[in-house]
């Protein structure tokens, strides 16, 4: 499975993307939510960086566990428990399986258990689930992630804050889908999908 060094690289790239897109994520959330997703994620990322730099972990699993704790304690809102759960479940699975798609599946299951969302409800699940399927079939690409993110545009939100908008939530990207998209794009860009 992923080494500590690999996992650190993955999350560092993710952190950079979040920071670069902080305002964009908040703007997206401003349209269909309450405008804080970028700020929430950036707050979590800052803490995650601190924690990861201070730690000297033995495995990728441990890195993910530390990251999970940092995100859980700083993001807040809906995204905090979801990211925290995703990373924690992936961390747990890494100690058992050697298969990245199984790891991602564990994260996906955790998020679904926590948030009770299915695919098609315009949440991060709409990226998480197809990413898992592509990984499993061995052809996850940046384009596939981006297509999944883009697919949330036409969905009507029925979970989370955007659901209060009903029909009016159609036509915009889901901010959580965009941010989790960065997580998986980072994984690909670091060349970690087939280690």
């Amino acid at each position: 499975m992923l080494t500590a060094e690999q996992t650190n690289r993955w999350l560092e790239r993710f952190a950079e993307k979040i920071e670069a897109n902080k305002d964009y994520l908040s703007e997206l959330d401003g349209i269909i939510g309450d405008g804080d997703h970028g700020n929430n994620m950036a707050r979590g990322i800052e803490e995650m960086r601190k924690k990861l730099q201070a730690a000297d972990p033995a495995s990728g699993s441990e890195v993910l566990k530390n990251a999970s704790a940092a995100l859980l304690s700083k993001i807040g809102g809906a995204a905090g428990p979801l990211y925290g759960t995703a990373l924690l479940e992936m961390s747990k699975q890494m100690t058992e399986a050697d298969d990245l798609s199984a790891v991602v599946k564990a994260g996906l299951d955790g998020v679904q258990k926590r948030g009770k969302a299915e695919e098609g409800e315009k949440t991060m699940i709409d990226v998480f689930a197809p990413v898992y399927r592509e990984l499993e079939s061995g052809n996850l690409t940046v384009e596939a992630v981006e297509a999944a993110v883009e697919s949330t545009r036409e969905l009507k939100a029925t979970k989370g804050r955007a659901s209060y908008l009903g029909e009016r939530s159609i036509g915009e990207l889901d901010p959580g889908a965009v941010s989790i998209g960065y997580l998986f794009i980072s994984l690909i860009e670091e060349g970690l999908t087939d280690v």
Partner: protein
């Protein structure tokens, strides 16, 4: 953005310190947390913990004290607090008889409080909870995250706080709480949106002659945007919504809360109270308890909400039970 603040990212931390500075005889801040806890919590009573995103002051810290909440946990502005913070609140409040959580129905709050509950239970603290979803502006369907928790939460705090003070067990509090949330409903109107300090501009825009019914306390969309109405018309609309939702029956008794959303002068709230009275006096119901003021605000939002609670048993007594908190 005209705000009396320093760094926008520090508003919660500084507010909490200011709160403890002003009310340090009654409350304390648990170090390195966003938890405001009652000093000298009475042993062997169920402790109440609530909280949520900041920006709703005096909720929730203003309700900490004997007879109401034992701890309030603050998140960032309009952002639910994290599980570790809520867990700190639970630990600070626990007096040996268990902790009862009062949660407003938002995806984030529900998940964060739920994770905190798991953490606390793992440490052997008995925890139960209720989710308040009083905002009838939202349809409660499988197509939404459910009705939002808004100002009605304040009645839940007050009544459960009184019950806990009278020695209710965790189990009895849960029973009472479940009945309360079925009986409390709210609906609001906004003239302007709130401006989150870190965002720097209002959550939405209303023209100078517009207002919107049903807006949430984080600037969530409402159900009807219209030209500005008179207090009388607003009272008619809000009471009609509540009447429909409750289906008023002769002889029923209700408690009433008129809640300013932050920037609305008390004068206007009382004018609305007068019009609400005119509307409700046509109904064969009684209103033995009324309260007007800023209780569950939305930063600098100009607007009000109207909450009604259908009264059962001794709930009026519990509403009138003495408290020692900063804002009641």
């Amino acid at each position: 953005m005209k705000k009396i603040i320093n760094e926008p990212s520090n508003v919660v931390d500084e507010m909490l310190d200011g709160f403890v500075y002003a009310n340090g005889d009654r409350v304390k801040r648990i170090e390195d947390t966003t938890v405001i806890a009652q000093k000298d919590i009475q042993l062997n009573k169920v402790a109440l913990v609530s909280g949520g995103g900041s920006g709703h002051e005096p909720a929730h810290a203003g309700f900490v004290g004997q007879g109401m909440l034992q701890a309030a946990v603050s998140g960032e502005v309009f952002t639910s607090p994290t599980p570790d913070q809520v867990f700190e609140g639970i630990k600070a409040a626990d007096a040996g008889a268990g902790v009862f959580l009062i949660i407003k129905n938002y995806t984030g709050d529900v998940m964060n409080f739920d994770m905190a509950k798991e953490l606390a239970e793992a440490e052997g603290i008995n925890v139960d909870y209720v989710i308040v979803d009083d905002d009838i502006a939202v349809e409660d369907s499988t197509h939404t995250a459910g009705k939002r928790g808004v100002a009605g939460t304040v009645f839940v705090h007050k009544i459960l706080g009184a019950a806990a003070d009278r020695g209710y067990s965790l189990h009895d509090l849960k029973q009472l709480a479940d009945r309360l949330v079925l009986n409390v409903k709210s609906v609001g109107v906004a003239m302007t949106a709130a401006t989150v300090p870190e965002v720097g501009k209002p959550g939405f825009t209303l023209a100078d002659d517009e207002m919107e019914y049903g807006v949430g306390i984080h600037s969530e969309p409402g159900y009807k945007r219209t030209a500005i109405k008179s207090a009388e018309e607003i009272a008619a609309e809000l009471t009609a919504q509540l009447k429909k939702a409750f289906d008023f029956q002769t002889g029923q008794e209700y408690a009433l809360l008129i809640n300013g959303l932050g920037a609305t002068p008390l004068m206007e709230q009382y004018i609305l109270a007068n019009d609400v009275n005119k509307q409700l006096s046509n109904e064969a119901i009684a209103i033995p308890y009324k309260k007007v003021g800023n209780w569950m605000t939305s930063l600098d939002m100009n607007g009000v909400s109207l909450t009604m609670l259908k009264l059962e048993d001794d709930w009026v007594e519990l509403l009138n039970h003495p408290v020692s908190v900063t804002d009641w």
